[in-house]
């Protein structure tokens, strides 16, 4: 009974912004079908193409990670950091850098794909490499001993075995890009409006938010269907960790280095430009330090919120089927809708920003984190939970002794990732807060007042804050694991 209530509460919590808005909008819920179909077409096209190219480049980059994983750990670590950097850097900074680096920058669909690929190819590579390690370890050794070539192995064994995982990653990427907001808004050029941008336009322009709510429900439904077309991920986690380096390629290493070098070069030129105006930053005085600390504080709050929620989620024990189905489908909630929903519900005072922003990130990131492997890991503990129950353990005992010790590390990583996103955010913070109190918001203010180069310069601080955040989380994990092993 308690578990059912908890499951239901989690579901309600995840859709709460939509519920707030549904109760507060009073409009006619009418939409223009032509406009809807046009936006859906654009959303699908840009998300599919972005996911395809991301997967393509991600796969090649993964070969580089596979090559260096066992025998060149130091290089591997550097490559992983390089792959993750675009995830830590605010989207607007990635945009400025990519656009600076490509002259003329192709606006519209090609531009959207380029920015998406640069932002996500690294993360995709890491996902593919992890899955390859899980799935191919057992077979690769045998194939190597037989004398198979790399090409033959991938053709006959690797791709067939990895097919499900690649489709899962493709679907995940499609969902992320489907509901992508800043990139199509800025780089789309205004012609190929996506559903998410249309939702934002409706909410911004009109007093009647009912069309925006309808569009958001349509987007959610489409993503549900999309996610169920993909085969679900694997439940088993292989323990065998054979070396796959013969399956890797240095071409992947070069790809990562070339893309990131180009990215850093154009980012650096914007930063150097900003350095010439560094004196202008004196206007902020100690506010920059406070903003740095406030960004970190917000990140820690978000980290705590996500960890707390994941802990409560683990209290479910076995994930109810309806909740698992929902979370597998509800991959990418609408950013605009979530933010406006929270705006409607919560008090407007400044201090509530410290609640609203972490909550927004929790609601927006949780479904995709679940789908990205956290949910499968939890479900893999089902047999242990059953045994513990049959031994007579209560729910809290199972949570404390069985589930949480095994989910803690993974949860910490996920929470850390969300916390670093918060560090660099301005889009969500701008809607939910009432003043410039974080680094991300200050960067955005600079951009809106001619000072683009300074915005690039200050985004270095942003990267520092995000990196600090993430390494503290990794440090926590390392210390905790050492305690376990000892």
């Amino acid at each position: 009974m308690q578990r059912s209530l908890l499951g239901f509460a989690i579901l309600l919590f995840l859709i709460s912004p939509v519920i707030f808005l549904l109760f507060s909008v009073t409009g006619g819920f009418q939409i223009q079908i032509d406009e809807l179909l046009w936006a859906v077409k654009n959303s699908f096209f840009q998300s599919f193409m972005s996911a395809f190219f991301c997967l393509f480049f991600g796969f090649i980059a993964a070969l580089g990670l596979i090559k260096t994983h066992q025998h060149r750990p130091a290089i591997h670590a550097v490559l992983v950091v390089l792959c993750l950097i675009p995830q830590f850097i605010p989207v607007v900074v990635v945009l400025i850098s990519v656009m600076n680096g490509l002259q003329p920058f192709p606006m519209g669909l090609p531009g959207i794909i380029i920015v998406h690929v640069v932002s996500y190819f690294g993360m995709t590579a890491i996902l593919i490499q992890n899955q390859a390690q899980e799935v191919l370890s057992q077979t690769s050794q045998a194939a190597q001993v037989i004398g198979s070539s790399r090409f033959m192995f991938y053709r006959k064994i690797g791709f067939p075995l990895l097919r499900k995982d690649l489709i899962l990653i493709f679907t995940y990427l499609t969902a992320v890009f489907f509901s992508s907001f800043s990139v199509p808004l800025i780089v789309g050029g205004g012609r190929g409006t996506t559903l998410e941008v249309l939702i934002f336009e409706k909410m911004r322009l009109s007093s009647d938010w009912s069309p925006a709510v309808i569009l958001s429900l349509v987007q959610t439904a489409l993503l549900f269907v999309l996610s169920f077309l993909a085969i679900k991920g694997r439940a088993k986690f292989s323990k065998q960790q054979a070396s796959l380096s013969w399956l890797g390629s240095y071409a992947g290493v070069f790809l990562i280095l070339i893309i990131m070098a180009a990215f850093f070069a154009s980012f650096a030129s914007a930063v150097v430009d900003g350095l010439s105006q560094i004196g202008n930053l004196s206007i902020y005085g100690t506010d920059l330090i406070e903003a740095f600390l406030a960004s970190l504080f917000l990140a820690f709050l978000t980290y705590s919120a996500v960890m707390g929620f994941l802990f409560a989620f683990c209290g479910l024990g076995r994930v109810p089927h309806y909740l698992d189905t929902f979370l597998n489908g509800y991959i990418a909630p609408s950013t605009a809708l979530t933010c406006f929903g929270l705006l409607v519900y919560f008090p407007a005072d400044f201090y509530w920003s410290y609640i609203k922003i972490p909550l927004a990130f929790l609601l927006l990131s949780l479904p995709s984190l679940y789908r990205l492997g956290w949910g499968e890991k939890l479900k893999s503990l089902d047999p242990q939970i059953q045994i513990a129950r049959s031994l007579g353990a209560g729910s809290f005992q199972i949570l404390k002794k069985i589930t949480w010790p095994q989910m803690k590390s993974h949860s910490r990583f996920m929470s850390g990732l969300v916390a670093t996103w918060v560090c660099g955010d301005f889009a969500i913070s701008r809607i939910l807060s009432t003043r410039d109190f974080t680094l991300g918001l200050i960067v955005e203010s600079l951009m809106t007042s001619y000072r683009l180069s300074l915005a690039s310069l200050l985004s270095l601080l942003l990267i520092l804050a995000s990196g600090l955040c993430f390494f503290i989380v990794l440090g926590l994990d390392y210390v905790d694991n050492r305690k376990f092993k000892n």
Partner: protein, 346 residues
């Protein structure tokens, strides 16, 4: 491990306490009344006029000014609608002439007396309303680099030349008031039918429709485009702040549009007199100078520009009349624009 967690907890607490403490002392300092001013982010940021006006005002009023930000006037209006009364908005800064009708329909406002304002003659038409006082204005034009070799005088039709193919940065009229200004400008000078035909051709010609002025300007600054729709005062920013004289506002053959920024006091204000006093500060010569120098917009009051670099700004001889289109008018124009956009992308 326990020690590590304790250490982190201590840092957490320290950050929280120091941050809350700082803001607490600002807000509850000496039980002074708090005047809540809703404004867009470039007004309230360090670079904007907000902080200086706030300091000046607080020296005299025995009160505290608290800014509540929205990223632009559109978000501001939505924010006001959702939170305005809860938060106790006393003053709203940053509407343009397209927002006024909507603002009046959605909320009620306090009537203001403009009779004592000695406004520039070009801006007098903006005073023809009871509730919203204009505090600065700008003339829209295209900004280019002298070194790009573009002619300094252009017509709207010249923008269709091949040299400008994919070289013009415009703004989306649905999300940017500057973008909407362009749309209305074209329709005004060409008439509706010809105007929309022009817009159709522009869809193919333009580099992009950015969601905001700053994004479009960013494209221009990073040399992705050769010209951008902005203000005649934009080159002055580069001259003064960056010591760069390469930027120039093009002179258009057609009469050019004005954008006027307004401030208003909601009828549910809690500190209405103080809010009016703040407006008086904004409309004083000192306040106007601050607005001019920080916003890089033109002052409403006469003679404020004299003796300043803004004196050199060439305000075009022919300007469009300031108009206050109705909500329905704006909505139907935007619907038509959206249709054209959709067809262009098919």
């Amino acid at each position: 491990m326990k020690h590590f967690i304790l250490f982190l907890g201590f840092i957490f607490l320290f950050l929280f306490v120091s941050h809350v403490n700082k803001n607490q002392s600002l807000l509850t300092g000496d039980q002074k009344p708090v005047i809540k001013v809703f404004a867009y982010s470039s007004f309230t940021s360090k670079w904007g006029p907000g902080p200086q006006l706030k300091t000046l005002f607080e020296q005299k009023c025995n009160c505290i000014i608290e800014f509540v930000e929205g990223s632009d006037s559109g978000i501001l209006l939505q924010r006001l609608k959702v939170e305005g009364q809860k938060l106790g908005a006393d003053l709203v800064v940053g509407f343009d002439q397209f927002d006024l009708q909507k603002a009046t329909v959605e909320m009620s406002w306090r009537a203001l007396d403009f009779s004592k304002i000695d406004a520039d003659s070009q801006i007098k038409a903006a005073m023809k309303n009871e509730y919203f006082v204009p505090y600065d204005w700008g003339v829209l034009s295209f900004v280019a680099r002298k070194s790009s070799g573009i002619s300094m005088t252009l017509s709207l039709d010249d923008l269709m030349q091949t040299q400008f193919a994919s070289k013009i940065a415009l703004q989306d009229p649905r999300t940017s008031s500057v973008g909407l200004q362009f749309l209305m400008w074209v329709l005004k000078v060409k008439g509706e039918e010809e105007g929309f035909e022009y817009i159709k051709k522009m869809m193919k010609q333009v580099h992009s429709y950015s969601p905001s002025w700053s994004t479009a300007y960013g494209l221009f600054k990073s040399e992705q485009v050769d010209i951008v729709l902005s203000y005649v005062t934009s080159p002055l920013f580069h001259q003064i702040e960056e010591k760069n004289s390469d930027f120039v506002a093009l002179e258009m053959i057609e009469p050019q549009p004005l954008q006027v920024e307004f401030a208003g006091i909601p009828s549910f204000c809690g500190n209405c007199e103080k809010a009016e006093e703040f407006i008086n500060l904004m409309m004083s010569p000192e306040g106007q100078k601050i607005l001019m120098e920080k916003n890089y917009m033109l002052p409403v009051l006469k003679n404020v520009r004299t003796g300043t670099p803004f004196d050199s700004v060439k305000v075009p001889f022919r300007l469009l009349e300031i108009e206050f289109p109705s909500l329905t008018q704006v909505e139907s124009i935007l619907v038509k624009w959206s249709e054209i956009r959709r067809e262009a992308s098919l």
